[in-house]
């Protein structure tokens, strides 16, 4: 083993990693079965899974059919690979990719990149970057969702973006960084954003507390590392944390020879500082790591869209920040366009510091990968005050609408709507109508007077809260539900948050929030496509919570979700006379939710929302709905419901869906399925939603599965678990059953 150490730190972690892996492997790229004489389709070799979303279009579709309705129930675990030897993770949210005979994944909070033998799950190589305090204080300290693959003949590269915002190009056969890429195979993605890089330091050994509490800081001149306290400057450089914190949580996407990569930001739940670094999308040359272009998702002064920020967009302007493209992406390589789902501006539920529509927040933006110029965009939520980030890659597909062939892109969202566009021009396939919406009663907040509402397809999650949505099995039940419902502001959708102190003219101290900040669709779920039929299968959830806004006494914001930052590192000084607000108990997210049930029965009628919804995008019609793993009986001892037969409701969680030649296959996600029922992987009929298979799995899926053909055998691989018990599980048909 050769070491070249220039840091003063120990070899500890490297030795642990190397020591934990016994034996050496001769790495030889196996000829992929799927490579044999087959052309690329949507940027993917049929039978492989070269993108996070299966292919560049993000279809999550495979034409494989070895696993089908006749044998699905005979699937067994072929292997299980545990990442615990390499470190811990939050929950394991990665979807691997398969290319040219190898399986690639990321794992652990340090986002270690791995190549695995697809037949056995054996580790072939691993790569890790030690990012020092840039990792310690990274806002998104988890394994990420995957990585990207590129090849030019025999030259193969795996692209990984780390929590500390470095991008590495690795030899797919060996894991060795490409010496021609960046500096020693790595590009520092904090470079090239227009901010100088400065030495960094920490004052504590912990991570960034949610949002921007307990951050790094710029190192003082001459400051060094204190090994005893593990504080100080460790030699790491980056953007001055006073400007904000940015990170990465999703993989880059390859479009031709261009790596398209964005950033994520801090959580916007309850930030302390009024500014953060605006989001960007950038293109890099895959061969050299040279930055080719940068697209500003908060337009700089003079750029298109800057006038949608009434207080201006000069970096550092109070209220300007985030608008981060934190989710996964899709592309049409033939058109040379990449489709970017964009997150919301700074502070989830209060926008009084950023008046205007706030482009390109909450938009889908089509960017020309050669020039980095905007081809078209559509903002789905103006001036977001609901945390309605665009949370996942859109789905690209071709359909026939009213007899006309259309190239479309469909964007699923937290707000429960799917927005469908001509992907060449951005023209909505079905009208999306600017519709008047409720206005805010929070001082300083100016909500958008209208929001764009799709006329088709119909939503997949409950929208808002109207009296007609309430349970009404008996007059007494309806009256009781109405008493609760009227405690908060009601409306059809886009109901602004209320001041929690009851100072609003209406007297209401909260508003109903439906879909809530988790969606709808969110990053754990999303949609899969059948490109043969134009069907789209959406995994989503439906739920109900409330918004009430208060002043955090130690934050720069006038309002936020109920929270008390006082005493946290990086918070404003505790004001004179401060007393903890006893009414905030639980604060944070808890302040968003309100009691919305009677005796354990939701006040909202059960409806065919959440679970999995199938749409035909040739017509825009909803075709069927199934719950996420089954229906849950509604049981209560409350005498209000005596004599009433209560309907069941769909199970919670986000279905994690892929499609194959003949099946829709899904896992239920971490919180899905029926409590007490063993975790399962399901298969349903694509045309009807009828369940045609179910097989027990070691634990609930924690990320969207993937499938591939390797040496004649089809595998389905998915992530499970958390901490040091995170795994990839490969399922396959035993040899006898596979022979058809």
């Amino acid at each position: 083993m050769t070491h070249v150490w220039t840091s003063r730190r120990t070899l500890g972690s490297a030795l642990v990693i190397a020591g934990g892996l016994v034996g050496a492997f001769l790495v030889r790229a196996a000829a992929s079965d799927a490579m044999q004489g087959r052309a690329m389709v949507r940027g993917n070799v049929p039978g492989e899974w070269r993108y996070w979303g299966g292919d560049a279009w993000g279809t999550r579709y495979s034409s494989l059919d070895q696993i089908n309705a006749t044998n699905f129930d005979s699937l067994t675990v072929a292997w299980q690979w545990n990442s615990g030897a390499f470190g811990a993770d939050e929950y394991y949210r990665a979807t691997p990719i398969y290319a040219n005979g190898q399986l690639f994944t990321v794992a652990t909070t340090r986002r270690v990149a791995m190549a695995l033998d697809p037949s056995s799950g054996e580790t072939k190589w691993m790569w890790r970057l030690d990012e020092g305090i840039r990792w310690q204080k990274a806002p998104r300290q988890f394994a990420g969702r995957g990585l990207a693959y590129w090849n030019d003949g025999p030259t193969e590269r795996v692209i990984v973006v780390t929590p500390g915002l470095h991008m590495a190009s690795l030899d797919a056969k060996t894991g060795v960084p490409d010496p021609k890429f960046g500096k020693n195979g790595v590009v520092d993605l904090m470079n090239g954003l227009g901010y100088p890089l400065v030495p960094l330091a920490v004052d504590d050994t912990g991570s960034l507390i949610i949002s921007d509490a307990a951050p790094m800081r710029r190192a003082r001149p001459g400051e060094t590392w204190n090994e005893a306290t593990r504080t100080g400057a460790d030699g790491t450089i980056g953007i001055d944390p006073a400007e904000g914190q940015i990170a990465n949580s999703s993989p880059a996407i390859l479009v031709g020879d261009v790596i398209v990569v964005g950033n994520s930001s801090i959580h916007g739940y309850y930030p302390i500082r009024l500014k953060n670094i605006p989001g960007t999308v950038r293109g890099f040359d895959v061969r050299t790591g040279k930055q080719l272009w940068k697209f500003n998702l908060v337009p700089l002064p003079g750029e298109f869209g800057a006038d949608t920020w009434k207080n201006g967009t000069k970096p550092g302007t109070p209220g300007v920040g985030k608008v981060d493209p934190w989710a996964t992406y899709a592309a049409d390589p033939e058109l040379g366009l990449v489709y970017i789902p964009v997150g919301m501006p700074l502070m989830d539920e209060y926008g009084g510091h950023r008046p205007g529509n706030n482009l390109f927040g909450n938009s889908i933006v089509a960017i020309d990968v050669k020039t980095g110029l905007r081809k078209w965009h559509f903002q789905m939520v103006h001036h977001d005050i609901w945390d309605y980030d665009t949370p996942i890659a859109p789905n690209v597909l071709d359909v026939t609408v009213d007899g006309r062939k259309r190239k479309v892109v469909a964007q699923t969202t937290k707000q429960g709507w799917m927005y469908v566009f001509d992907r060449v021009t951005g023209e909505p396939i079905w009208p999306i109508v600017e519709t008047p919406v409720l206005q805010s009663e929070v001082p300083g907040e100016v909500a958008s007077p209208t929001q764009p509402i799709p006329t088709k397809p119909e939503p997949y999650s409950q929208q808002g809260m109207l009296a007609s949505d309430l349970i009404d099995y008996t007059p007494a039940i309806r009256d009781s539900a109405l008493v609760i419902a009227r405690k908060c502001r009601m409306g059809p959708y886009y109901i602004p948050g209320q001041p929690a102190d009851g100072s609003a003219k209406s007297g209401l101290a909260c508003s109903w929030y439906n879909p809530g900040a988790s969606g709808g669709v969110n990053i754990d779920g999303g949609a899969a496509v059948d490109p043969e039929t134009g069907m789209v299968y959406v995994g989503s959830q439906t739920g109900l919570s409330t918004i009430g806004l208060q002043k955090d006494p130690c934050s720069e914001f006038n309002y936020s979700s109920p929270h008390d930052s006082c005493g946290l590192a990086g918070a404003l000084p505790t004001p004179a006379g401060y007393k903890p607000r006893t009414e905030l108990r639980g604060d944070g997210f808890a302040g968003r939710a309100g009691a919305s049930s009677i005796g354990g029965v939701s006040i909202v009628k059960p409806k065919p929302y959440g679970g999995m919804t199938a749409y035909d995008l040739n017509s825009g019609e909803k075709k069927w709905w199934v719950p996420n793993g089954g229906m849950i009986p509604t049981i209560t001892k409350d005498p209000l419901f005596d004599g009433v037969t209560l309907p069941p409701s769909g199970a919670r969680g986000q279905a994690q869906i892929i499609t194959t030649k003949s099946l829709v296959i899904y896992g239920t996600g971490r919180s899905g399925a029926i409590p007490g029922v063993p975790p399962q992987l399901f298969a349903v009929d694509k045309a009807t939603g009828r369940q045609v298979g179910a097989v027990k799995i070691p634990a609930r899926t924690t990320a969207v599965p993937m499938t591939f053909l390797h040496k004649g055998k089809q595998y389905i691989v998915f992530a499970i678990g958390a901490g040091t018990n995170a795994s990839l599980v490969a399922m396959a048909i035993p040899h006898r059953a596979a022979a058809r």
Binding site: T2, L129, G175, S518, S545, L568, R585, G594, S671
Partner: protein, 166 residues
Amino acid sequence: MAALGCMYVVPSTRAWAQDTPPDSVRSTLAGVYSAAQSARGKDVFTESCLECHTTADHSGQSFQNSWIGHMLSELMQYLRDKMPKSNPGSLTPEQYSEVTAFILSLNGLPAGEVDLPTDSLQLRNIRIEIAKATTDTVQARTPHEAGLKQFVWGHSAPFTIARTLP
């Protein structure tokens, strides 16, 4: 929260737990949950909470600002009424008590021999208290390695390359 609960004039909202605490008050420092229950609670946290909440957000100062001095019944009832935010009340009673135990463990509070009960009324005599020494360390994580070093393992034999960038 007590006021909120009392405002609901419907039959099911009558069973609130934050009445005047009984005379005999115990402390969360006395080992009021079991390690096994906390371990189960960690799984529940992963399944239903981690999407929005980090453990750092529920330990140390963040936790203390909201909960020190309150009765444990209030914390559990709060979770039952408000969480998960997308579908409050949807966990089982056992899961709510398990995740309550996990939150206590996050804050360095000691485990005891028995589980927390699932009935929040039985938690009315447990006050949330945290030892000062503990609160100072709960945010700490395993020390990290510093410097930008790349580690590669694999190829024909294990090897490591390391360097500082840029």
